[in-house]
Amino acid sequence: MNRRGFILGAAGVAILQSGAVGAMIANRARNIANGREVIVESGFVDPRDLFRGHYVTLNLVVGELNAGNVEIDREFASDETVYAELQEGEELFWTAKKLWHDIPEAVDAPFLRGEITLAPAVTASGNAEGEDALDPASQRYRIAFPFDRYFAPKLRAQELEKFRQDQRLGVVLSVGEDGSGIIKGITVDGEIIYDEPLF
């Protein structure tokens, strides 16, 4: 391979790879700018220390739903894609109103795309054989969303660890039209404690 060809090739590869990284950041900024903002409640945090940094696991309330409290368009099975229609709750947080297999055109509400990991038919509430398992109120949908952890700087993670159990943790999401969600920030008792900059 001649020198000129190698220089051009190396420049091309460097531009392409830098471009791919840049596109990840630009896409996110565009989605945040265009998305609808919702705040969903998260269960208390579970700090981890991995070699890649500190992160906190989010237990989103919209990811654990009682079958009796949410409508569905039809029955769900495990591993199915689900779109959770959100509505503004009475308190600080948005809640799930109805679970859909596809985003309906007629409804003008934000939707979060996730995957059903547990459908009510197979939910065991203590004893699967007992009558409890058939009671709709005790049956649950468990939904996995792609945003299940929040990478925090070390100090921020330690702060989050200190919050008391009676304080309410919220995750600010920017929701796209296709159901994708990007974490914009974290709230505690309704107060934004971390606001993600665009870049």
Binding site: F6, L16, M24
Partner: protein
């Protein structure tokens, strides 16, 4: 250059000079040439690659440790700058003719690219599917390998594509996928083409291992879905087909640029594996409902197509009067016999699988000699030992008993020791210097 080649050549050259086959000057010239080519190239390449792997990890852990104080865009800028520095370094090294260093720096650039993807994902809370990030990394690395002809980057790309394939499988196999993932092949083929173009044996080995893994996983998926062992039988026969193609190529077209012997080795290893699983199915399957289904194998089009392909290759070899016809014909015989073994009739013949495995291992040993591939011969011994062990397990506690086993094994070994060397002397195409092998066997 092969390990031990230079010292062997020195010994041989000394002998040839003594025998008058070579003048002392010519021997000196040959050895000087060999020593100059040795030049520490391969060893220094290894050291450089190990160094680059360390640098990759250093880059990743450094950014993880000193991250918090920096602004986010600054961090991204740092990563991009490190990436560009690697490629600028590779250009400088390439223009000075240090291709090994240039290659290693391309690998480093691609490593930083991967680190950048992971860290941007972490910093900006981008949490899509992890396998998508790996795919992006693999694709970017492949482009770098293809454009800059970097073998190091190609190795990394092959490994990343394999990781991507594994990540796409259901990790707990609770809901086993009912379809074979052909997307892996779509990534495998361009990698194979590039490995062929770059003459990269290392990449070829990685590709062979990856393909065997993919084939085995796919066979498991199909077998699980159809609840028969017909697909498994196809897998078994397909390895004979691959061996037959490599056998034809090794003395003919050399299509794989010298990688044929390795392909034969991998095929033999895979055949030993499938035969082992096969045997386990028969030994542990008391209810032979599944095995009865295999009677239909001879009507199963993919299986018949594989046999027909091997037969066509054998026919071609015969037409060309290739010395390879003998081994290719055996590929056909063993592939066909595999199906017969699973039929109901064969189940009534005692020790049918063991006979099959014994014949197979002896053929492997012999093929290793004929083709001058030591690995195949060694695998043959290994298969022979495994079969002996299997016979022991199956005879222990039966009418034949362990005494019968030892008697048979002893007779086989003694008769083999007497007749094998004589047989070998009659064997055409036997490479010189293989006399020590039968002794090693006994």
């Amino acid at each position: 250059m092969q390990f031990g080649y230079v010292s062997r050549l020195e010994k041989d050259a000394g002998r040839w000079v003594e025998q008058g086959l070579l003048t002392a000057d010519a021997a000196d010239a040959i050895l000087r040439d060999v020593h100059s080519r040795r030049g520490g190239y391969s060893f220094s390449t290894v050291i450089i690659i190990l160094g680059v792997i360390c640098l990759c990890f250093a880059a990743m852990t450094f950014v993880a440790a000193n991250w918090d104080e920096m602004a986010r865009l600054l961090r991204v800028g740092l990563l991009i700058a490190a990436m560009w520095a690697s490629y600028v370094g590779s250009v400088l090294a390439h223009s000075r003719g240090r291709t090994a260093i240039a290659d290693a720096l391309v690998l480093l650039g691609s490593g930083i690219f991967g680190a950048a993807i992971m860290l941007v994902g972490q910093m900006y809370h981008l949490q899509g599917k992890a396998e998508d990030a790996v795919l992006l990394w693999a694709a970017g690395t492949f482009v770098a390998a293809a454009v800059l002809r970097s073998r190091g980057a190609l190795w990394l790309a092959i490994i990343l594509f394999a990781i991507w394939f594994l990540m796409r499988l259901d990790p707990d196999f609770e809901s086993a996928p009912d379809a074979v993932d052909f997307w892996y092949l779509a990534t495998w083929l361009p990698c194979a083409a590039l490995a062929w173009w770059l003459h990269s044996r290392g990449a070829a080995h990685l590709l062979a291992i990856g393909l065997i893994g993919w084939i085995v996983i796919s066979a498991v998926i199909l077998t699980d879905r159809d609840n028969t062992i017909t697909w498994f039988a196809c897998l078994h026969a397909a390895f004979f087909l691959v061996a037959a193609i490599a056998l034809l190529s090794i003395k003919g077209g050399n299509w794989l640029r010298g990688f044929e012997s390795a392909v034969i080795g991998y095929s033999v290893l895979s055949i030993i594996g499938t035969t082992g699983v096969w045997t386990a199915i028969q030994v542990f399957n008391d209810d032979d409902a599944e095995i009865r289904l295999a009677v239909q194998l001879m009507n199963f089009i993919p299986y018949v197509a594989i046999l027909a392909a091997i037969a066509a290759i054998a026919g071609w070899a015969r037409q060309m009067r290739s010395t390879q016809f003998y081994d290719i014909a055996f590929c056909l015989v063993f592939a066909a016999a595999g199906a017969l073994l699973l039929t109901q009739q064969a189940q009534q013949i005692p020790f049918d699988t063991e006979f099959y495995a014994l014949a197979l291992s002896i053929w492997f040993i012999r093929m290793g000699w004929r083709q001058d591939i030591a690995t195949v011969t060694r695998l043959g011994y290994f298969a022979f030992a495994l079969t002996m062990l299997l016979i022991y397990f199956r005879t222990a506690g039966t009418l034949l008993g362990t005494t019968g086993f030892y008697l048979t094994a002893g007779l086989l070994l003694v008769l083999g020791a007497i007749f094998f060397p004589r047989l070998l002397r009659l064997m055409p195409g036997r490479p010189p210097g293989s006399d020590e092998e039968p002794e090693a066997a006994s």
